[in-house]
Amino acid sequence: MSTAAAAHDDHHHHAPTGLKRWLFSTNHKDIGTLYLWFSFIMFLVGGLLAMVIRTELLEPGMQFVDPEFFNQMTTVHGLAMVFGAVMPGFVGFANWMIPLMIGAPDMALPRMNNWSFWILPFAFLILLSSVFMSAFGAGHPSAPNFGWTFYAPLSTEYGPASTDLFILSVHMMGISSIMGAINVIVTVFNLRAPGMTLMKMPLFVWTWLITAFLLIAVMPVLAGAVTMMLTDRHFGTSFFSAAGGGDPVLFQHVFWFFGHPEVYIMILPAFGIVSSIIPTFARKQLFGYASMVYATASIALLSFVVWAHHMFTVGMPLAGTLFFMYMTMLISVPTGVKVFNWVATMWRGSMTFELPMKWAIAFVILFTCGGLSGLMLAITPVDFQYHDTYFVVAHFHYVLVTGAVFSMFAAAYYWLPKWSGVMPNKLLGELHFWSSLLSVNLLFFPMHFVGLAGMPRRYADYALQFADYNFWISIGGFWFGLSQLFFLAVCLLCAMKKGEKAAARPWDGAEGLEWEVPSPAPFHTFETPPVVK
């Protein structure tokens, strides 16, 4: 505390309070907190939409919503989770932790940092307003209803009026992401403490640096896709319209050229988080640091040459199909290296299983499940059967929920003591973990079965042989959704500083600069750069 007070006096910094503190913030910690709360709120909003989906799918027949509204729910659920929960969540962790990990006083471009956050709530207000209008407005105008992948021509010639709100909103999210990524790159390249060479950086910083390059490479592609949609819809172009000489498959190529690197944007920072947590609680240095860095870079590079595995059924030439099948299979090599490295880090360590470690181990196992089903999906002739079924839904929820989201829970429990100065409530944390772990598997594992048995995804209603599994999947969904209220309670308690006081280094095996500053981390840190030996 005294350090914080001293910092203020020495530098005549005015610590802002109230609304102004958050609206005008240029402080990486406050902006990080904003990002994290925003992400968690969007996680709950996206979750509520998923509850509508699972309620309708509880039993065969249309009981609660119209199929049209159902499609809006699947669409906005996907968009809210991908662009609202997972991406801003990781940006929040980056904001809080990258300066602390590399010994920088703040992010390199603090005002841009403020702007890249404050765009987001407005982007989502625009998107979600269409859902409110659809649910409560006169005549129930449709919200975006074409799936989060918004394939043309369903989203162009056949899109509802709210598609334009969606386009504007995606543009804003893209601007926010690109600015966030630029900030990370500039910070990492310019503000490292003396002695912090690139190959000494914590893996979280490395994975985020690579993620930032991916973001800069592909967000403009997404912007291009939605701009072409906009001109197709309103200005007479025919990029994606066969009737005007355009090509609906071109849309999918452009979208997935963004979409596949996007998948890694959502998982590389998770790799970094887990690579920080496992060594701490195994009390043993990370196995194969250099190979982790190279594996991350290889995954990032390969992510640019596998996009068409999302569209094996569009009727590509045989040679193209084979190329994308082989490249996709190849990705499992560097991903496997990572998993083996984590196991080798645990091997002959001295492990304890505090909450962050529980989530991290659950991540390694369940993410690997998602990776293995991903390998199955790469095998093109079999993918012709799997494609667009619940098997795919199971696969990407294993990598995104038990992968990306679990890593964020691990990270939150790991760094909450540093952020708030109090330890997260153990009982609530344990309840959150066990309740989530059981329910998430009841929710997503049977999706493999129902998908293999032939249930297509994005179905508002289904044939009778899928009924039993869907019932249990829905129960798992409600249970998993409710489990997150434990986490809300944990976060609120920490925010109110209720709980056991946290030491500067609350985890005895933890290493890194972030543990050198007091808990809670003072408003300004590392104004004089530390020296890394």
């Binding site: 009981q63 369903l154 194969g288 059924t313 569009v314 293995l372 079999v382």
Partner: protein, 402 residues
Amino acid sequence: MQSTLFHRAAVGLISLMISGWTVASDWTERSDHNLRPGVTAVSQEVYDLHTTILWIVTIIGLLVFGLILISMIRHRRSRHPNPATFHENVFLEVLWTVIPFVILIAMAVPATRVLIELDDSSDAELTVKVTGHRWKWEYEYLTYADDNNIGVSFMSNIATPPEQINNPVLAGGLFPYGTAQDAVGNEFPEKGANYNLEVDSPLVLPSGQKVRFLITSADVIHSFWVPDFGGKKDAIPGFVNETWAKVPEGKEGTYYGQCAELCGKNHAFMPIEAKVVSQAEFADWLAQKKEEAAAAPDLTPFADLDEAMELGQQTYAGNCAVCHGNNGEGGVGLPFAGSDFATKKEHLEEHIHVLVEGRGAMPAFAAQLSPRQIASVITYERNAWGNETGDLIQPEDVYEQE
């Protein structure tokens, strides 16, 4: 009586506890938790490939998870207080890069072989053009043996009655429920065994002959998928995709499929039903279809408004209600009840024209409905729901526009 939620919960729990996965059905050799081996040689190969890969990933998974479990038990602090210090091992790192690579090659070889086989749709005896529409399939028989001028095509609509599908339990405005609101609280009929899979006019195919499907779409992207034939292929406007199936003799029967690419509101309600029959039976069926197609359209005028309204009501329910609402209140499509379009005389010509030719998202119906049906449905739209224009449109009026 519709099974209640609790009923379903109980049935689900009991069936999971006692006998694994049991749901009565007549989808041939139905598998409820694994991929279907299917009926064609290729679908069997795909299934075998799936089984092999599933075993490989299961073994890899169990090895990795086993190591994690052993480590969690043996290397926890209470049993192993002093951690080792190793953090590199070049031999191990090379090993676990090379071994997965070798496994991948072993997987890629059979995958490539099956893929090449799937890709070869040459030398087919029957060619059927499959066109996806929102939300029905159209089958056009192009060539069979030496016959290049079959001229048989028809639409295939879902046959599950709407009252089995629409079982609303909530009245009121929280969720837009459109057309089904008036059914809130009704008792609903039991769902049939082939709920959401059955159609009015199935795709009929001969056994023992190679069938080539040319797949395209009239509006948005759909995907033609009969799992028992071994895979799916997208139906894309402006593209013609190819795939094929050869159902061996002795495997005659009905095979079901579903649309597998999100195509809008009724994506879940455009099933595929393929009826595979012997070659002799197929030849008879095709001959009969050709005869029907060759006959001149029925242009018998309607005797009075009531006769037209009766046919119109049926036609409307089967083709129009999905977009324009059961009561003409609109939805994806424009409303009719009380609209200028359906009541003002000056729009009558346009009304007929739009039905015949289509406009924007509204499909053309000339190929799907007979002039008599189109005339009746226009009459219905202009006289139902209080429109009462008294307009009686005759088949001849429509036929002139076609």
